[in-house]
């Protein structure tokens, strides 16, 4: 039944009229930002216009953009609140660290190692997502927020007692809650609270940008698919969705697990960009930071989240001249952006200002503007 209704929505005419144009525009802007940003930053780096400070943030920017996109799948598209995105990131990061180190002797080609690590990280993170989501997503209410909050903390503390090492024969050793005896420092992979150390960095801006593109591709396609429409239908009205026979739990779980595995991949890339990686990095603050990207960019607005993630990653560094006051300035900027983007008056001011200076202004667009203006004056 549900399939038939969704299929009927999928008929060509309706799709193009209702969803198709919106989707195309969103995809165009999102990919445009990604490719444009990539080219811009790459050019800046090549010409030396961009200093080391910003260049060093290229990979983290891509990672945070990916995380914002994948969290948007849960928060924006599926309408559930997740407060443990950093937990999935941690799962991916530490899985990736172990996989890359184990493969180091077997596979000399670094990108291939990274690819395998990404895939395994995605699988492990998806498994974690499944374990969390399975008992929870059938329930009504904000249980997911509570459980993911706990999950993030559990993962962090779990990583504090996990020990992995390679012995001199190249065998992988594992220990729980105690150090592995007889391993010299170079063989350590994960050392409990110290985390992964001595990681040979293999992440580059290009790999990270490709990962972001892949994340974007997956999320946009889900959003525009039959399943995506089912997920959004449930978000908008759960009872109506159930009444046409949609399996609420299945669709919510689908969004959640995909989001978790994408976060795992982003985490893996993140881990491969730093020579040390401590579990404490993936605490509640990081989860909230990712949520802030999504909220600031507009919940459900994929490219808004991308811009927010990129800017908020750069911002604390760009504010370094304020030294100790920069987090103060950062929060003021955050509040200002919140007010500016959600205030209709300011929004309309900006758009009228933009209309005045817009060089591509044509009659067609003016026509579209006029009736709205009169409407506002009347109100």
């Amino acid at each position: 039944m549900a399939d038939r209704i969704l299929k009927s929505i999928n008929t060509r005419g309706l799709k193009n009229a209702v969803r198709g144009s919106e989707y195309k525009k969103e995809a165009l802007i999102s990919y445009g930002i990604l490719i444009g940003g990539y080219i811009l930053l790459q050019l800046g780096a090549m010409t030396g216009l961009i200093g080391r400070n910003l260049q060093g943030q290229f990979v983290p920017i891509c990672v945070y953009v990916s995380l914002a996109i994948s969290l948007n799948l849960v928060v924006g598209i599926s309408g559930e609140l997740s407060l443990g995105h950093a937990g999935f990131m941690a799962v991916g990061a530490f899985t990736g660290a172990v996989v890359v180190r184990v493969l180091e002797n077997g596979i000399g080609f670094a990108p291939l190692r990274l690819l395998i690590a990404l895939l395994i990280s995605a699988a492990v993170a998806a498994l974690a997502g499944l374990i969390i989501g399975l008992p929870i997503l059938g329930l009504r209410g904000d249980y997911l927020a509570i459980v993911t909050l706990a999950f993030g903390e559990i993962i962090k503390n779990f990583m504090n007692v996990i020990y992995f090492a390679l012995d001199e024969n190249g065998h992988l050793k594992f220990a729980f809650n105690h150090e592995i005896e007889g391993i010299d420092n170079s063989g350590r992979i994960l050392t409990g609270p110290i985390g992964a150390t001595g990681v040979t960095k293999i992440a580059t801006f290009t790999y990270a940008a490709i990962l972001t593109a892949f994340t974007l591709f997956v999320v946009l396609n889900i959003k525009n698919s039959k399943q995506g429409r089912a997920i959004m239908a449930i978000r908008d009205n759960r009872i109506a969705g159930e009444s046409i026979g949609l399996n609420v739990k299945k669709y919510k779980l689908m969004a959640f697990v995909v989001s978790a595995s994408l976060a795992g991949m982003a985490g893996c890339m993140f881990g491969q960009n730093f020579s040390t990686l401590a579990p404490v990095k993936f605490n509640f603050n990081t989860s909230v930071l990712i949520l802030v990207f999504v909220v600031l960019g507009g919940i459900g607005n994929i490219w808004g989240g991308m811009i927010a993630a990129a800017l908020l990653t750069i911002l604390p560094e760009a504010l370094r001249q304020f030294s100790d006051y920069r987090m103060l300035v950062y929060s003021i900027v955050l509040i200002a952006v919140m007010i500016a983007t959600y205030n209709p008056t300011i929004k309309s001011r900006i758009s009228t200002l933009w209309d005045k200076v817009n060089p591509f202004k044509n009659k067609d667009k003016d026509k579209g503007k006029k009736p709205k203006k009169t409407g506002k004056e009347a109100a």
């Binding site: 110290i194 985390g195 001595g198 020579s275 030294s323 709205k372």
Partner: protein
């Protein structure tokens, strides 16, 4: 249609912001490298000047600033130093950002990072980029290991553990030894593991994590019931103060023995210093030392910042003087590049170079980057540190 414009406006604004920022980044980089020429050696520092570990970062910032000012004032026509300390909030990611920012600004020698986990991340960057680094206080072995360009001025964690174990073995032969340590902390577990290996005997172990560092009744009860006479505390002073307080409340008074993280316990606001009576600690510097150099430093620091310096400040102070002396031995001038300075400084440090400072009479470095100096054991008597 209007909505589209708003969106485009947003995108345009975002692009402009990115442009503005990249312009900033590039601009400061250019101006930085050109300044290096006029006999000013640019020292950069990285450490937490905000956040929970800010005490350490600020102590290093102030300690180094004091030494830089002294050197510059003493010889205005000679080599001058400049000092730029960047905040990392005790986060490896931010620490690497801070390092990159300093390189953009033309830093020639790095003093940092202050804390261990960020220190390890920065050490790797400094290694690939060839920056000479002397850390005042990042004591984990990961910081120096595998990096020929990174040196420590403080004791490494393993060496502190070994020195503590030896002292306890020699001076408390019949004592039953117990420990309370933070197993989610690099510093604490690093020291304890070496202590345990060196001590060899039976140890009553209790642990806590950074998240649960508020109540220590359970750990103390365990130790009390096991009749422990000496409690080893390889932890920071904030937690130690709570432990001392809790022990007093349950009428449990073993000998407490700590490491350099214990330094600063007498300066906690609202802390009853009588609780710390008899506390022993391994530390390279105490503000009440009778040593001439220490005394002069303490007085100068108090005059400049109106507070009692902690060991981190003394370490940073020594770092600057050590670098100044070592740089003089390289025969380079301040116009040398970061890479040239790095190779020359490694040569000096791995040679027969010895430095003398507030934290030790003589300091020597081995090829691993670890410092060799004699540890001091102090005991708190009448609210003051007394050297043993």
């Amino acid at each position: 249609m209007k909505k589209t414009f708003t969106k485009f406006a947003a995108v345009a604004m975002a692009c402009m912001m990115v442009f503005a920022m990249t312009a900033c980044g590039g601009g400061s980089g250019d101006s930085g490298s050109s300044e290096g020429g006029d006999n000013v050696l640019k020292l950069g520092g990285i450490g937490p000047t905000t956040g929970p570990a800010a005490l350490y970062g600020n102590a290093v910032k102030n300690g180094a600033q004091l030494a830089v000012d002294e050197i510059n004032a003493a010889n205005p026509d000679g080599l001058q130093l400049s000092w730029d300390m960047q905040d990392d909030e005790h986060d490896p990611e931010k620490s690497v950002n801070a390092y990159n920012k300093l390189v953009d600004d033309g830093m020639q020698i790095l003093i940092g990072s202050v804390t261990s986990t960020p220190g390890a991340a920065v050490a790797a960057e400094a290694d690939t980029n060839r920056t000479f680094a002397l850390t005042p206080s990042a004591s984990a072995p990961d910081v120096t290991e595998g990096h020929d360009n990174v040196f420590q001025l403080c004791f490494s964690d393993p060496n502190q553990g070994i020195a503590s174990a030896q002292y306890v073995k020699d001076n408390f032969k019949d004592a039953k030894v117990g420990v309370i340590y933070n197993n989610s902390d690099n510093y604490s577990s690093g020291i304890f593991n070496k202590f345990k290996a060196e001590y060899g005997g039976d140890i009553e172990e209790t642990t806590f994590t950074t998240d649960s560092a508020t109540n220590f009744d359970a750990q103390l009860t365990t130790l009390k019931n096991a009749n422990v006479d000496l409690v080893f505390l390889p932890i920071y002073y904030t937690e130690a103060s709570l432990i001392l307080d809790a022990a007093k409340k349950m009428d449990y008074s073993p000998k407490f023995f700590g490491c350099d993280g214990m330094d600063g316990i007498l300066d906690i606001e609202g802390f009853d210093t009588s609780l710390a009576e008899g506390l022993m600690l391994l530390t390279p510097y105490t503000p009440y030392s009778e040593d001439e150099k220490s005394k002069a430093f303490t007085e100068a620091y108090q005059a400049a910042y109106n507070e009692t310096p902690i060991q981190f400040a003394a370490d940073a102070y020594d770092c600057v003087y050590t670098i100044y002396d070592a740089f003089g031995k390289t025969g380079l001038d301040a116009s040398a590049s970061m890479e040239e300075i790095c190779e020359a400084m490694i040569g000096v440090f791995t040679g027969d170079f010895t430095a003398s400072g507030v934290t030790a009479e003589t300091m020597k470095w081995n090829a691993n980057g670890e410092v060799e100096k004699t540890p001091k054991v102090c005991e708190i008597k009448d609210g003051k540190y007394v050297e043993k």
